[in-house]
């Protein structure tokens, strides 16, 4: 069996976001790039599954749609433990564009399990996983918070509106994963970093894809007015303000 983990290269979660060119482009100056937090957890889970499979899972591949600038992030994924990587050489345009590029890879290699994060910390599209599943015609489930393989089938837990469900799914299968899929992301060890340098990172050409959506401009939220602060002697005053002035309670 083979697992594919789709990884996105995103600004570190503490980044102060700024735009340039009249608010039409992200200012990447000084940004630290990381593996998207969900994708990092997905990769960790894929490696755990492989290690526990007794050789049944032969490989864990990571795929990224990005320019050469995302290679440090891909190398990190290799250092964490992925066996090989594919970079589809293109500047991502929108979710559909990315999904269509990934679909091409999956069609060529037929992976049994594909893992995609819930959303990417940049454009928050929550879209690539579902679109990919549709384009490659895979069975897919979303908001997956645990994943195991039992007797050739997948068993997952997922969050639903107001609870959780346990579902048994047939392979091949695409899971859109979230919190819980693995506990902590794996950190690359020295040995992993050394090995990552020689692991295969294949760069493939992008295919032409129609651009369905475009970010035309960005805006920052309105700054908040100053906070009306009270000390613990005046809790009652605050509560009556919330009641009378803000009409919140």
């Amino acid at each position: 069996m083979k697992i594919l983990v789709c990884i996105s290269d995103v600004p570190d979660t503490t980044t102060k976001i700024k735009f340039k060119d009249n608010n039409t482009t992200l200012d990447v100056n000084g940004i630290q790039w990381i593996i998207n937090p969900w994708d990092e957890l997905a990769l960790t889970r894929a490696l755990e599954l492989k290690e526990a499979s007794g050789g049944i899972i032969q490989s864990v591949t990571v795929a990224n749609v990005g320019t050469v600038a995302s290679e440090p992030t891909i190398r990190k994924a290799l250092a964490v433990g992925a066996d090989n990587a594919i970079r589809i050489d293109a500047q991502p345009k929108d979710a559909y564009y990315v999904a269509a590029q990934l679909a091409n890879i999956v069609k060529a290699e037929s992976y049994d399990i594909v893992l995609v994060g819930r959303d990417s910390a940049d454009y928050n599209g929550s879209a690539v996983g579902g679109m990919l599943a549709e384009l490659i015609d895979y069975n897919s489930l979303s908001s997956v918070s645990s994943l195991n393989i039992e007797n050739g089938k997948i068993r997952i837990n997922r969050e639903i509106d107001g609870g959780t469900e346990t579902i048994e799914a047939e392979l091949p299968f695409l899971a859109i994963v979230q919190k819980g899929i693995s506990k902590e992301p794996r950190i690359p060890a020295m040995r992993g970093i050394m090995m990552a340098r020689t692991k295969p990172l294949n760069v493939v050409q992008a295919v032409a894809v129609e651009i369905l959506t475009e970010d035309v401009s960005f805006e920052m939220p309105q700054p908040k007015g100053s906070c009306k602060k009270f000390d613990s002697e005046n809790v009652k005053t605050l509560v009556s303000l919330l009641h009378n002035e803000a009409k919140l309670i």
Partner: protein
């Protein structure tokens, strides 16, 4: 041409979020001089389906079936795309929640319809179609242009409001799309529902606790506050990681993104990843014993003090108001 709205039910009942979704779609339909068609999947009584008329649906497509008791992405999105074709819908709207996020990408890819998730208002222009959404985990907005003729949107709850209900009954039509050719690949083993608690997604007021509350036991004070306010409870990530509260209550970048009318943050420092999940709240009240905690930078009201003294006083003061 029409607008198709996927109206999700929870155990046969439509919630406020669905009414807001329809109110939003109706406003768009007015501008475009068209109708709103609702699509309901799963077991719902006719009387409940007709209610959707009060919020602007002229017609409800009602799809029921044995295999529709749990969300199967492929099956459900096939139903949606079939409905889109039948109605000649140009715009498809879903909630930006678990099921909307599960279905909208499949529908979008299947129809080659541009998808914008988490939209926070009406389009700023229809020709070209430009609409605003939150990006970078609520740190910024993007104005997204959709190039395709068909468009799929997921709508961020509480960014529009529920319209005043009108006295209208929606026409309910049985809708049985051809879905036999979609092979069944998933089997539901077990469902666990959260019972006896107001859900985060239904709440107008949310009271939330952080590591500053120091133990699982201390959350009983927060529960009590939630009780007197009719609020739901939430928490920061370390709190759910510690197991003090269930994962379903974790808000922030890696948890739920919420936008209640009032968010009360108690013993939460206001880390950027936490704020991303709550900054769209209309009002934020912070309780923290550190006057320089970053949470005060995004709060409208704050109390500098120890939760152990502040919370009981707050509870008492609210009880007094509620008692009239």
């Amino acid at each position: 041409m029409s607008i198709l709205v996927y109206t999700e039910n929870r155990e046969g009942i439509f919630k406020k979020a669905t009414f807001e979704l329809l109110s939003y779609a109706k406003e768009m339909a007015k501008t475009l001089n068209t109708n709103v068609v609702a699509l309901s999947i799963g077991q719902v009584e006719n009387s409940e389906l007709e209610k959707l008329g009060n919020y602007g649906a002229t017609k409800v497509l009602n799809t029921q079936g044995n295999n529709l008791s749990f969300l199967d992405n492929k099956l459900f999105s096939k139903i949606v795309t079939t409905a889109v074709e039948k109605e000649g819908a140009q715009i498809i709207i879903m909630a930006n929640n678990i099921s909307g996020k599960a279905l909208s990408p499949r529908v979008s890819a299947s129809l080659k319809a541009g998808l914008v998730t988490g939209v926070v208002g009406l389009p700023s222009s229809y020709e070209p179609f430009v609409i605003k959404k939150l990006v970078f985990t609520s740190k910024a907005f993007s104005n997204v242009k959709v190039n395709s003729a068909l468009k799929v949107l997921t709508f961020a709850q509480n960014s529009f409001g529920v319209a005043e209900p009108i006295n209208a009954v929606a026409h309910v039509e049985t809708f049985n799309p051809q879905i036999n050719d979609v092979p069944v690949k998933n089997r539901l083993i077990e469902t666990n529902r959260i019972t006896g608690k107001l859900l985060l997604t239904d709440a107008e007021i949310v009271v939330s606790g952080g590591r500053g509350l120091k133990s699982a036991e201390n959350f009983s004070l927060l529960e009590e506050l939630a009780g007197v306010l009719g609020a739901a409870t939430a928490c920061s990530r370390p709190v759910s990681d510690e197991g003090w509260r269930p994962h379903s209550e974790h808000v922030g970048q890696t948890g739920k993104i919420i936008a209640p009318v009032l968010y009360i943050a108690c013993g939460i420092s206001g880390a950027i990843q936490h704020v991303g999940g709550i900054s769209s709240s209309k009002f934020i009240v912070a309780i923290n014993n550190d006057k320089d905690a970053p949470i005060f930078e995004i709060a409208d009201y704050g109390i500098v003090g120890d939760f152990k003294t502040v919370l009981p006083e707050m509870i008492a003061a609210i009880k007094e108001i509620k008692a009239g």
